[in-house]
Symmetry: C2
Subunit: 327 residues, 2 copies
């Protein structure tokens, strides 16, 4: 049994707890929280709720610590600190800061003689390995990543900060024409606007100036100004009824050529259609926690990403079983 700890208990931590139940070779030992442990209800009766400040007492009792903090401020501090104490895994997803985070975690993990893994999930994560496989197999080609249809938490939050907005949900939607052109092997050059649209569902306060709110959304730099954005005002009831889920997904497509005259085209497409973004991310992390444990057992030390992990390491099946049933 692989003994798991969960550090941080939001959407992702709860998803990890559920995913552990789907993997019979794993057991949840403890959930660590910065809140008062007595205030936290978890769904695994055999696991402890402990204070984050007591985490050192669990060294030797936990095989892999799954760190479920946020990428902005939590993980840059938590993952290096915990990598000195435990084999760890996180879902750090600020793409631009991955090299710095990798360096910090690598140094800490080596100091603690532990295996660590960062940036595990679907993007970064499963999308990344698919970009790598496809580009290595078709060197003369072009990559496309589309996201959605799905809820962007950051964009929803940005709308909620506008005066007069009570609540909001933003969907990122890939443009069907762009997707079709890529699938036909046309290798288009696509602008930001041509790849995705943004659909906003907004609950406005009574008497609020809806025209102003709509204008402020559509003109917001970085978030919306570069996109074709639609704003639909709905009631709080409608938002709760029709937009309470956290679906997401997307597409990684590579179009590439082979042959004596590069006369043959090939399309590799990987796509995800997810009812729950955090639960799917959790499921990927839990599978890779198995790899972290195997690497630690082998004496491997330092920081890894999904690029470094043989696929067999995330499966509970033996090499022989895998070759017989899946090759």
């Amino acid at each position: 049994m692989i003994r798991i700890g969960i550090y941080g208990y939001g959407n992702l931590g709860r998803g990890v707890e559920n995913a552990i139940r789907q993997n019979p070779d794993m057991t949840l030992v403890a959930v660590f929280t910065r809140r008062d442990p007595a205030s936290l209800k978890i769904s695994t009766p055999t696991a402890t709720v402990a204070s984050a400040s007591d985490v050192e007492a669990y060294v030797g009792k936990i095989d892999v610590m799954i760190i479920c903090g946020g990428s902005a401020t939590d993980l840059p501090v938590q993952t290096p600190r915990l990598a000195e104490l435990f084999p760890v895994i996180d879902s750090f997803d600020t793409h631009a800061n991955i090299p710095a985070h990798f360096a910090a975690v690598d140094a800490a993990a080596k100091k603690g003689a532990n295996t660590a893994m960062i940036s595990v999930g679907w993007d970064p994560g499963m999308f990344s390995v698919n970009r790598l496989y496809a580009s290595a197999v078709l060197p003369d080609g072009k990559d496309y990543t589309f996201w959605g249809k799905g809820v962007s938490q950051g964009h929803s939050d940005a709308i909620r900060r506008i005066e007069g907005v009570l609540d909001a949900k933003q969907y990122t939607v890939p443009v069907a024409e762009a997707l079709d052109s890529v699938r036909r092997g046309e290798n288009p050059d696509l602008t930001t606007r041509q790849k995705h649209t943004r659909e906003c569902f907004v609950v406005a306060a009574e008497g609020a100036d809806k025209a102003r709110i709509e204008r402020e959304i559509k003109e917001m730099p970085n978030y919306f100004a570069d996109y074709d954005t639609t704003v639909t005002f709905i009631s709080a009831e409608e938002l709760a009824r029709d937009h309470s889920g956290i679906p997401h997904g997307g597409f990684v497509i590579r179009s590439g050529r082979t042959g004596a005259e590069l006369e043959h085209n090939h399309i590799i497409e990987y796509s995800l259609k997810l009812d729950s973004n955090p639960e799917f991310t959790s499921s990927v992390i839990v599978a890779y926690a198995r790899a972290v444990h195997k690497l630690q057992t082998e004496g491997s030390v330092g920081c890894k990403t999904v690029f470094d992990i043989p696929p067999a390491y995330i499966s509970p099946l033996s090499g022989e079983e895998l070759r017989k049933t899946m090759l």
Copy 2:
């Protein structure tokens, strides 16, 4: 530079030769043939054409031998024999015999202190890793593999053996309704007939009994009897004009559930649309030849499959470059 040998020069060998040109860290040293070497025209001016019987003279001059024989009779003999002499890779694709082939190659590679890889291509190969990734991430789920639309060489050959048939091409076609049901997460139980249809284009000899030919095709056990099969008679000119390519492709789809009550569904789909089946297979093999070379350099010994290879090993980029550009 990784020095490559090609053993066998049919469609696959020619595809490997073309793919090597697309990978600047590789160079083709020699093509080995059972035919008279003087009779073989290759397209790489710097490479030698050598007799298969002289292969031992190349030990130490070739880093990876890519074996391009057929799975039925060539590879079971060639791969173990050559694995004693060289790091090797093949595309053995008789799924049922993979465990036996693995054992034979593993023993030979260990005897020669070499790394060997078998069953590299797209199925087995890229489809296999996608089955593994998806099943590890979504343990409560169901896998589907669909093939096509594409040319099946074996089925085309079977038609050509019928009396009165001059030439033929057979396409395997996934059934759109079945594919759509899987994509909607309905987890259908599908019979052979419900998953694929078979389209046959046949050139009959003058005066041949077309009704008998059609009946013989449709009733052929294993090949066609379990499928909805259509037979279209065309002229030799039409066959040459419209059916000379070797396209293929397919879909690996996993539908699985997560959540406290398994209330959320997720669809992972990997698909290929290939203009040339042998050239794409060759491109996968050449990328994995890079991994074989890295493993050999590290002192790894014995037989591997795509399940054992960290994705980073098939890329020419460094870990740092990969993390910066693809994670």
